[in-house]
């Protein structure tokens, strides 16, 4: 009995150690990948230049003397490449990765299914349709804002439709939600394809639409970052706040209700949270698959299924993953950029299979 109880204590400590280990590896990795993604590209930049540009942009002028010659040699081109082109793109990649990673984790908990992903409730397709509308109306070429705003509106409209169809008398059965979501998703995707077909003669628009559907982060600006970051931050916080409810919902709705969870209220909050996270991410990055499926799954294998642990870890993991995928998309085949959605699927697929095989091998031992 003594030996057994020592073993039990060991398990809890081991898990906490694993969480600590995860962050002590992933946080430096985040910093390194951000720096690498800013530095690598058609114009390679040394890290000193990056630091100097950031110093010029962020610190009061009187402090800059501390950086000495680094600062004085910075050209306007350096500033443009670092501050206007690369940093916003890398930060948008991080935020979108965080948003999709945590949205996927919530979806999988809500649907009690490790294969659920953010697109399932029609939110992704809704956002995509909004984006397509921005292209075919030509609004997207006039300013930065119409594309992300229409995409977000599309996400919320799709969710509203799905939710209204699945809710009767204040009760939203998850199975009905799934069916309504899949049906709405296919309908909305068909509308996107219809718009694409109707505009295929105008090759420029058609190309934009196709690229949008494959996801990508070219020419992203600080505006995109500020459009998406607050929503992702908000969604992540809401998810963590509801983390314990999500753990209980994973045990089944009856069990959760009998243990004291206000099930319908918790589901409502979590569904809207997924919509905000997914909508904001798709709005600035187009359709990027696999992040929401792969990242939370990998995290759960490493750190266990508790959402207060899984959600922040998935956000961080998703950020690193997407920064690296976007770096690969930019640099693997210059001067052509590979579409981001293609890269995430190409990197994510095999990685996912390896994890899955290892998991089953470990389980069968």
């Amino acid at each position: 009995m003594e030996i057994k109880s020592a073993g039990m204590k060991g398990a809890g400590v081991k898990q906490r150690l694993r969480v600590r280990l995860y962050y002590s590896v992933t946080l430096p990795l985040l910093a390194i990948s951000i720096l690498a993604a800013i530095s690598i590209g058609s114009t390679p930049l040394p890290w000193r230049t990056i630091v100097a540009v950031c110093a010029i942009k962020l610190l009061p002028a009187s402090w800059l003397t501390a950086f000495g010659s680094d600062v004085s040699t910075i050209t306007a081109t350096d500033q443009l490449v670092v501050w206007i082109i690369r940093i916003p793109r890398v930060l948008v990649a991080a935020v979108v990765g965080a948003g999709l990673g945590s949205a996927g984790a919530i979806m999988q908990g809500l649907f009690r299914n490790p294969l659920a992903e953010p697109g399932l409730m029609g939110i992704g397709p809704g956002a995509a349709l909004g984006g397509v509308l921005a292209f075919v109306t030509g609004w997207s070429s006039r300013s930065v804002l119409p594309l992300p705003l229409l995409a977000m509106a599309g996400a919320l409209l799709a969710l509203g439709l799905v939710y209204a169809m699945a809710t009767r008398g204040g009760v939203t059965p998850i199975a009905t939600l799934l069916l309504a979501g899949v049906a709405t998703g296919s309908l909305v995707s068909a509308l996107s394809s219809l718009l694409l077909t109707l505009n295929i003669a105008n090759w420029q628009i058609a190309q934009e639409v196709i690229f949008w559907m494959m996801g990508g982060l070219e020419a992203r600006t600080w505006t995109h970052f500020w459009l998406c970051a607050p929503f992702v931050a908000m969604g992540l916080c809401a998810g963590i706040v509801e983390g314990r409810e999500l753990d209980l919902l994973m045990q089944g709705e009856e069990a959760a209700a009998s243990l004291g969870v206000n099930v319908e209220a918790a589901k409502r909050t979590l569904i809207v949270t997924v919509a905000i996270l997914t909508g904001a991410s798709v709005a600035v990055a187009g359709m990027v698959g696999f992040v929401g499926l792969l990242v939370p799954h990998a995290i759960r294998m490493m750190l266990g299924p508790r959402h207060r642990v899984v959600l922040p870890a998935s956000a961080l993991g998703g950020a690193v993953f997407l920064i690296l995928c976007d770096l690969a998309a930019r640099t693997l085949h210059p001067p052509t950029e590979i579409r981001l959605g293609v890269v995430t699927a190409l990197c994510g697929g095999p990685f996912f299979l390896i994890l899955l095989l290892r998991h089953y091998r470990a389980a069968s031992l």
Binding site: M1, K4, G7, M8, G10, A11, G12, R112, N113, P114, V241, R244, D247, L248, M250, Q251, G252, E254, A255, A257, S258, L259, G260, V261, N262, V263, R300, G304, P305, R306, A363
Partner: protein
Amino acid sequence: MSSGLQACGISVERGGRRILQAASLEIAHGNFTAIIGPNGSGKSTLLKALAGLWPVSAGEVMFCGKPIRTHSRREIAKTIAFVPQDTRIDFAFTVAEIAGMGRYPHRGRFAPETAADRAATEAALVRCDVAHLKARDANTLSGGERQRVLIARSLAAQPDIVLLDEPTASLDIEHALDILTLCRELAHDGHAVVVAMHDLNAVARFADFVALLDEGRIVGVGPVADVLQPAALERVFGVRAEAVTDAAGSTHFLFHSLK
């Protein structure tokens, strides 16, 4: 401990069908009450209505002197535990984590696990004889172990009333006896234990009171010996019941088809 729970003439409708009709039942502390009846007679429905999980269309479930629908889920969960029939566990939560979830109604949103939480969880695990499984992933457990872990989860909330929906449905005879013995002990400790079950011999052996359901109506309620009468069983279950008394003086039933 005066957390009275009673069903006062409740009816439950689902999808336009009346599954429970004018059912009245008072739950007594320190007793093992069995709810019996054929499939579809409304056993689960009665339990879920008692737990406040399903709304009633007529009558009222009274809890602590007020209709149960006026209590918050959190308040109910501190006193009434419900162990559902669905024991599926899909994700690799450890047994300790699952049992710890029983503390949900007692914990603030961001409150860390207190010594009291840990003690209650530990006691529940020991009570259900699964403390040695604490570090195991709950989705790797056997059916009997999983059922005991889920009972431990419900006991971690330190409830006065424990409702179990066919806890022995998918268990072999040894594990079924373990679970029923545990229920018996919980009643002995002063809990009100209400179990929906099928095995009438187990009812005769373990339960104090029985509520017999037939097509949504309670057709018999009272001490086991009064309700488990061959005539009533024949009428409700459509089988001929023969009562035999063994050497130790306890009653067993033999069932014969009427055809």
